[in-house]
Amino acid sequence: MIWNETKECMSRDELEFLQSKRLVKIVDRVYHNVEFYRKKMQELGVEPGDINGIEDLHKLPYTTKNDLRDTYPFGLFAAPQSEIVRIHASSGTTGKATVVGYTRRDLEIWSECVARALAQAGVTRDDIIQVAYGYGLFTGGLGAHGGAEKLGAMVVPMSTGNTKKLTTMMKDFGVTAIACTPSYLLHIAEVLEEAGDIPNIKLKAAVCGAEPWTDNMRKQIEQRLHINAFDIYGLSEVMGPGVACDCEYHKGLHVYEDHFLPEIIDPDTLKPMEKGETGELVFTTLTKEGLPLLRYRTKDLTSISYDKCECGRTLARISRFKGRSDDMLIIRGVNVFPSQIEAALLEMGGVTPHYMMIVDRKNNLDTLEIQVEVEERFFSDEIKDLESLTKKIAHVIQNAIGLAAKIKLVAPKTLERSMGKAVHVIDKRKLV
């Protein structure tokens, strides 16, 4: 279902006209309300009058996560505190948390975008949806919640942490949709499978995000739970979940371009790239009041397609992420994305996608160990079988990443399951 046909199926000309109008307004807003942007634009010799439409986007300065940290906590806000009605903050894995603020209108637009995403996944007001992202400072829980309420579905605000309660309610309520991270959904599938409860649930759709996942992982989730799974994308700096989401054709994630203007740049030269090329995704928020951002660098690597989709939407699509420019590992000079390991393991079959990469440096040589869980049916009482499984995994992974890795089989369910973002890499090299 298309939630907002006027906006989601606009012609490119109309859309660009709307984007241009909004860009002019937002530039004016940040120039006059945010000292950081005024200074940056002055340094570049750009004034609001120089920006007449999206063709002038390249003249504007970039924003990075560091800029948000440097202006911690509210330095980039473009609305007075009295108008800010909500704060979220990203998990501060390095240094201080990044704080984001929303006006009432920001929250309305956020809910609108999430409602579009849920409608794209086939969720309607007749559905019962469990929101199993963390509620609180993380944007996942409340973001998905707002959109589901806007859509009119019956919302069960599960949050994370009690899988048993989640699966029980899923059965008892006849829950038909769920929003959570893909790795948590796999964990939920495991729990349901163990209890023999797959036939007892009415789930039909999942909207998963907050971490990169592969198409194979999506298919595995779909097969194990007999549902359709959709990839929702977002980041708290830009808004939260609901910046983009894929449709039933799974040919990229539709960006809600009337609110978020995407570009692809070369992360090294910072020059915009040609249409269709892969590079770093950059967003300019077009309607945000609380924390409007110009050319925010997401570090996510992808490409954009502007072709009309089979689903009828004209909104540009970003392709499934090739990883993040900052979670890419360089091991013995080879670029490795953890998602490649996951894809290789899933293609091979017989192993779960639960894995842990341990990167270390011994005698000035990088080492890569990959711990993989042995699935029950592949377990054997003979060493030679386990050894041949190890060799097979090593071979498949070497083909995938072009690098020899030491494979270590571990017992089922011993690798840590995450309720939020899955941790797949332990880098002991301390390169920074």
Binding site: E376, D381, E382, L386, E387, K408, T414
Partner: protein, 144 residues
């Protein structure tokens, strides 16, 4: 003619073997014979127990990879060359021994547990050569 062996995958980690044994103790499963095969990364614990099914269930519940395998328990008398004699039949038939370990029992006999490639063929072969095999019931009697 086969008996059930309980096999458990054990990561080379401090305390893992003890954990396995503790699970079996809680379940009151007694071990009559065992072998521990080790590699640098993990070990395989193979056991003949008083209640392999209960042992497997309890171990699985605790998150261990545990499985039941059909193995042969061959009765041998304490005489020089007895084991060689049995193996010569196996070799002549072109079968391989995957692994083997000793089975302790109360009688004044030596016995072995072994897994031979193509178990059915091996069992038929040994019976035809009048080699005595323990049944699951015979094993249970050892615990009495």
């Amino acid at each position: 003619m086969f008996i059930k062996q309980l096999s458990v995958f054990i990561e080379n980690q401090e305390g893992r073997l003890e954990e396995v044994l503790d699970v079996l103790k809680q379940e009151e499963v007694s071990i009559i014979s065992l072998s521990l095969a080790d590699t640098s990364e993990y070990g395989l614990l193979r056991m003949i127990t008083s209640n392999p099914e209960a042992g497997q269930k309890a171990l699985k519940e605790k998150g261990f990879a545990a499985m039941l395998t059909d193995v042969l328990a061959v009765k041998l008398s304490h005489q020089v060359g007895k084991l060689q004699e049995v193996l010569s039949h196996v070799c002549k038939a072109g079968l391989n021994v995957e692994y083997m370990y000793a089975l302790s029992n109360k009688d004044n006999e030596a016995s072995i547990i072994c897994k031979i490639s193509n178990g059915d063929e091996a069992a038929e072969l040994l019976k035809s050569k009048e080699v005595e095999l323990y049944s699951q019931d015979d094993i249970m009697k050892i615990f009495c």
